[in-house]
């Protein structure tokens, strides 16, 4: 009897390994990468995308729950999610844009033109929908680095006290909203 049980052990190990490795096939390696959840929004002073005389600070954003959406017109997925984000805005979700510019690089001199960028953003938002209360321009990507942003689109859910509750990598669509954001929003509104 004892021997028979012992004989089963390699089989059990085999099954365990199979389950373990099989799960690994479907894991999303981009899910884990974040260090800022549960922490306060990093402090920053950055200009408005449309008007450089206007400066935004982290303290300006406090007081209301909001989504911080990292995006850029160069990013097709960001354009694709504008429509759904606009729907969310119409449902009363406060969305603030963090404009992630790839072309700007101090090493490359003056290829970058802020006015051309503003025109492009304007046209894009008129065509695809404008979900944003306003956009923050992070030319040097310093806030993006402080937030652990690796690209676009990425979205943070921040509560009224400025605490980061969620960090989502990839687009926001109805399925992601239902599964990931809606439960937390529900909890916050109670």
């Amino acid at each position: 009897m004892n021997k028979k049980l012992l004989g089963f052990i390699p089989f059990l190990i085999f099954i365990f390994l199979c389950v373990f490795l099989y799960q690994g096939l479907f894991g999303n390696p981009r899910e884990l990468q974040t260090g800022r959840i549960g922490q306060a929004m990093p402090s920053f002073v950055l200009p408005d995308l449309m008007d450089e005389s206007k400066q935004w600070r982290d303290s300006d954003l406090k007081g209301q729950v909001y989504l911080l959406n990292v995006w850029g017109t160069w990013c097709p997925t960001c354009i694709a999610e504008l429509g759904y984000l606009t729907e969310l805005r119409e449902q009363g979700v406060r969305i603030i844009g963090l404009y992630y510019e790839q072309a700007y690089d101090p090493d490359f001199g003056d290829q970058f033109d802020i006015n051309a960028l503003r025109n492009e953003v304007q046209t894009m938002l008129e065509r695809a929908g404008n979900p944003y209360q306003f956009n923050i321009l992070d030319l040097d990507r310093t806030l993006a680095l402080d937030l652990g942003v690796s690209g676009a689109p990425e979205t943070f859910l921040v509560d009224a006290n400025g605490k980061i509750l969620l960090h989502h990598t990839g687009d926001i669509n109805p399925r992601v909203w239902r599964a990931k954001f809606a439960p937390v929003m529900q909890e916050l509104s109670q």
């Binding site: 981009r30 990507r141 690796s150 690209g151």
Partner: protein
């Protein structure tokens, strides 16, 4: 022909050298720290490359930040912690020892110990079976005698 190959090789080594000279450091120690860090930190966008290797914009930003931090005189561990604060443990190729990851260190040792334990256990069991006493000695002598006689008879 040989001259041409030598010239090409010389050019190659010059090219790789100038790529590293792009960054300037106050001393050799900082240069070494920077090099080690860019090889140890993982690009969050293209996940199987380190930040020295990757051309992603985020990898460039991380390299620039590492350069700034190293030139401020931060130690290697301080820079790693700075990046982990922002990008999670994911950003460093060497996982830390935490309750969740301790199994990576303990499991191989456990397997070796259990394996050797099993071998010792089996040997002890086997040696126990081969007990020998006077009665068996007698029986053996008898059997030998028996077969010897049979051999003589045949």
């Amino acid at each position: 022909m040989r001259v041409l190959v030598f010239a090409l090789l010389a050019l190659l080594s010059f090219a790789s050298h100038s790529a590293e000279d792009k960054y300037e450091f106050a001393n050799a120690e900082r240069a070494a720290t920077f090099k080690a860090l860019t090889h140890e930190l993982r690009c969050p966008k293209c996940q199987n490359q380190n930040i020295a290797d990757s051309d992603a914009i985020v990898a460039k930003d991380l390299r620039d930040k590492v350069l700034v931090l190293v030139n401020e005189g931060k130690s290697k561990q301080e820079v790693i912690d700075y990046m982990i604060d922002r990008y999670g443990y994911f950003v460093h190729y060497q996982p830390p020892v935490t309750p969740a990851t301790i199994i990576l260190w303990v499991l191989p040792v456990l397997i070796v110990i259990i394996g050797f334990g099993f071998i010792v256990f089996r040997q002890k069991k086997a040696s126990k079976k081969q007990q020998w006493n006077a009665q068996e000695e007698e029986k053996l002598a008898q059997l030998i005698k028996q077969y010897q006689r049979q051999e003589h008879n045949s």
